[in-house]
């Protein structure tokens, strides 16, 4: 049973928020774009008329519309500005979910009956939200919020774009003629996965959602996997709920009290972060992920504000903390009629809807035990501290014999499905030459493999019993038995035994990196080492530590 859902969507909300924050900008008359990471994310009507569209590079937008005012994206500002709108909607209807700044959703079952039908509810909400959102400037009929009502969240989101009320049971018919790119509106697929998927489908000739809905589900899952199945269900108007969401037990609720009461958002945000981590730990302990959370706050004068936030990709601690901050920021710094009169004394996070946690973005180590999950978290933590390439995992890469072709590769590469099976230039092969080029492991030197392979260049001098430097000819012949070695300029050590040389012509297929080298094993009183000579110079490649 798909829940009948209402979506209120404010077109170009980042523009609305930005122009309201900066009185020198006029949202209707000025060409304005909001830019995030050099890409346009929102366009004002005048700029749009000049040919600027979302997704363009900033530079392109400035070429198309030379006078355009560029504003940096600020999700916190968007959320803060949107809070009064969400509050106004929440006054009329219970359980309003904020999907993103500019978009709220709610189940229409009760409110619709109360206000006398879907159409009446839509009109009422559009007026109320429009009145709150446009206190400072007159609103054109096309620039206010739009309301869509339909079966299921995805269809309602699409309907809101058109400002349409789709009768119950008519979702598939409503969606059929719409472009396939509408899939990107689905919060679970999102821009990251929905857009590429829609691109591929479009290139296959499936131009509308109806084309996709007509396919056999078995074909879709075979070619596009889980995302494809979701898209297929959405296109049929069936809603994307392939997972069973359930109401969580109460013991997952986390809350914290503030004493003295906090007047500043920063103080609360700090606490919210800790709460979010605690909630995440509790959820993880139950094997759950949270897709909808109620963030509740109370002040010393008993005022309270609760808001539902939804995130299909499961709310991680960062997302939770961010939303808490947004909500409180909007409340505390909102207009004077709605702002609380006292400091905040309590913050509570109530998971409202949870799903079984399937490992989220970390699910690559196959079957996952609790130990694997903990380890994966630690890996993610270390990557967060040091950067994704600093954390390595050993992997077999082909090779002649077991153990000879084990290299360390960044864990990040392994974490991303579909990454190249061969290590990139960042590979830490057992040795790197002076130029830093990666070298294949010397298959010619037999087991055992040395336990210490030196990352840096350790020079060594090798002489025979007459004190002359030992060389290896191009034919792989050694000039004389090594008698003494001096590692890194240290004292001379007697050679107690040696073996080799093993000549190698490495990377012969790759002219800039190919090299002719030879290796010998040398045993001295303090260690057994693998020495490598290239161009007449010796270095310690590895130590049998």
């Amino acid at each position: 049973m798909i829940e009948r859902t209402l979506v209120l969507w404010w077109p170009r909300w980042p523009i609305v928020a930005a122009t309201r924050a900066d009185p020198t900008l006029d949202r209707v008359a000025d060409p304005v774009v909001v830019v995030q990471a050099e890409v346009v994310v929102a366009v004002s009507p005048v700029a749009a008329a000049a040919g600027v569209v979302e997704g363009q590079r900033r530079r392109t937008a400035q070429q198309r519309c030379p006078g355009v005012r560029v504003v940096a994206a600020d999700p916190a500002l968007d959320a803060r500005a949107f809070e009064p709108v969400a509050a106004a909607v929440a006054e009329l209807c219970p359980r309003v979910e904020v999907l993103a700044p500019g978009t709220v959703a709610l189940a229409t079952r009760g409110p619709s009956r109360y206000f006398g039908g879907d159409q009446a509810l839509a009109t009422r909400l559009r007026q109320v939200a429009g009145a709150v959102g446009s206190v400072d400037s007159p609103e054109g009929p096309t620039d206010g919020p739009r309301v869509g009502i339909a079966d299921g969240l995805f269809t309602a989101l699409v309907a809101a774009r058109a400002g349409a009320v789709v009768p119950a049971g008519a979702a598939a018919r409503f969606l059929a003629p719409l472009p396939i790119a509408s899939l990107a509106l689905d919060p679970a697929l999102g821009d990251q996965r929905g857009r590429p998927l829609a691109d591929v489908l479009g290139r296959l000739g499936l131009r509308t959602l109806g084309d996709l809905a007509a396919l056999d589900p078995a074909d879709v899952v075979g070619r596009f996997g889980i995302d494809g199945v979701r898209a297929h269900r959405l296109a049929q108007g069936l809603g994307g709920a392939s997972v069973v969401a359930r109401t969580p037990p109460v013991d997952l609720v986390v809350q914290a009290e503030l004493d003295p009461p906090a007047e500043q958002v920063e103080a609360v945000a700090f606490l919210a972060r800790a709460l979010a981590v605690e909630l995440d730990d509790r959820l993880a302990a139950s094997g759950l992920a949270c897709t909808r959370v109620s963030i509740e706050a109370e002040t010393e004068h008993g005022e309270s504000r609760a808001r539902l936030w939804r995130h299909e990709g499961a709310l991680d601690p960062t997302a939770l903390a961010e939303r808490t901050r947004w909500q409180l920021d909007g409340w505390l710094r909102g207009d004077s009629t709605a702002a609380p009169t006292g400091g905040i004394t309590m913050v509570r996070l109530v998971p409202d809807e949870v799903v079984a946690d399937h490992g989220r973005q970390l699910g690559f180590w196959g079957e996952r035990s609790a130990a694997d999950q903990r380890a994966a978290r630690a890996v993610a933590r270390a990557q967060g501290l040091l950067g994704p390439d600093a954390v390595l995992v050993p992997r077999r890469r082909g090779g002649r014999a077991p153990g000879e072709q084990v290299v360390l590769v960044p864990a990040a590469d392994e974490l991303e499905p579909g990454s190249s099976p061969t290590p990139g230039p960042r590979r830490r092969a057992p040795a790197t030459s002076g130029s830093g080029s990666p070298a294949p492991w010397p298959g010619q030197v037999p087991r055992p493999a040395p336990a210490a392979v030196h990352a840096g260049v350790v020079r060594v001098e090798v002489v025979d019993d007459r004190g002359e430097a030992v060389t290896v000819s191009g034919r792989g012949e050694i000039s004389g038995p090594p008698a003494r070695v001096s590692v890194a300029g240290g004292a001379w050590a007697e050679v107690r035994g040696w073996a080799g040389p093993w000549p190698a012509y490495e990377r012969w297929w790759d002219p800039p990196q190919r090299r002719r080298v030879a290796r010998i094993q040398v045993l001295t009183d303090d260690a057994a080492r693998l020495l490598l000579v290239e161009g007449g110079r010796w270095r310690v490649e590895a130590t049998y530590d």
Partner: protein, 245 residues
């Protein structure tokens, strides 16, 4: 009227003492290395310092049994680790994480993150690691039940166990460039506090002629002759060469 609990008979009282499963508090090290340890393994929450000429190999071998059983091994600051040797010495590569290079400033944070999450954390301490930081890490290890393996003789904090490779002898070189490094004999001593105060010693193959870790009979049969060069005309026994530990 007061009720008193009847005293348990002695033989029952003994049986009724709470039992902590040995497997819960000890990380197994496998049958070959177990005799070196008073608890037949690495006690969770302890710090072990490994040093000597074959420290890295011994440390890897200590983790192999646990790794096969599902434990994770993290290595932090081990810039020179040879991935091939980890494989050969029995670590399960899918459960090994290596952070070879880490700035001294974040070293303790990264080690702490892994101590919270995995059973075995191997560390190469940055130069000038302070004793107080090492002690704090030791406390965290105790709290979390991991085992911290310090790959150095100069671990600045207190170590519960010190594993020292005392003697190393390689087999397989036949003189004049012939043969190859093939098998290694070690004498490993384990000492420390409490039960381990009296050091235990064992002679091991690491790796043995078949490439595996194996116990070596107490008195080497015939050939072990430290300090002299092996001779090629001894085909039955690989000649031996010794390295002082």
């Amino acid at each position: 009227m007061t009720l008193t609990r009847p005293a348990l008979p002695d033989e029952l009282a003994h049986a009724a003492t709470p039992v902590v499963g040995a497997a819960d508090r000890v990380v197994a090290v496998g049958p070959v290395l177990a005799p070196l340890f008073p608890s037949a393994g690495l006690v969770r929450g302890t710090t072990v310092a490994v040093s000597g000429a074959a420290a890295t190999s011994v440390a890897a071998a200590l983790g192999s049994a646990a790794s096969v059983a599902g434990s994770w091994v993290a290595m932090v600051g081990t810039a020179d680790i040879g991935a091939g040797a980890l494989d050969e010495l029995g670590l399960v590569l899918e459960r090994v994480v290596v952070v070879p290079q880490v700035a001294p400033a974040s070293w303790a944070t990264v080690v702490g993150a892994f101590v919270d999450a995995v059973d075995l954390v191997y560390v190469q301490a940055p130069p000038r690691l302070s004793a107080s930081l090492a002690r704090r890490l030791g406390a965290r290890v105790r709290e979390r039940g991991a085992v911290l393996v310090a790959l150095s003789s100069s671990w600045p904090g207190p170590a519960d166990l010190r594993v020292v490779v005392e003697e190393v002898a390689w087999h397989g070189l036949t003189g004049e460039g012939g043969g190859r490094l093939q098998a290694r004999e070690l004498v490993v001593a384990v000492g420390g506090r409490g039960q381990a105060a009296r050091p235990r010693r064992q002679r091991l193959w690491l790796p043995g002629p078949e490439g595996r870790v194996a116990a070596r009979a107490e008195e080497p049969a015939g050939g072990l002759d430290p300090g002299t060069e092996g001779r090629a005309e001894e085909p039955a026994m690989p000649s031996s060469l010794a390295v002082a530990g």
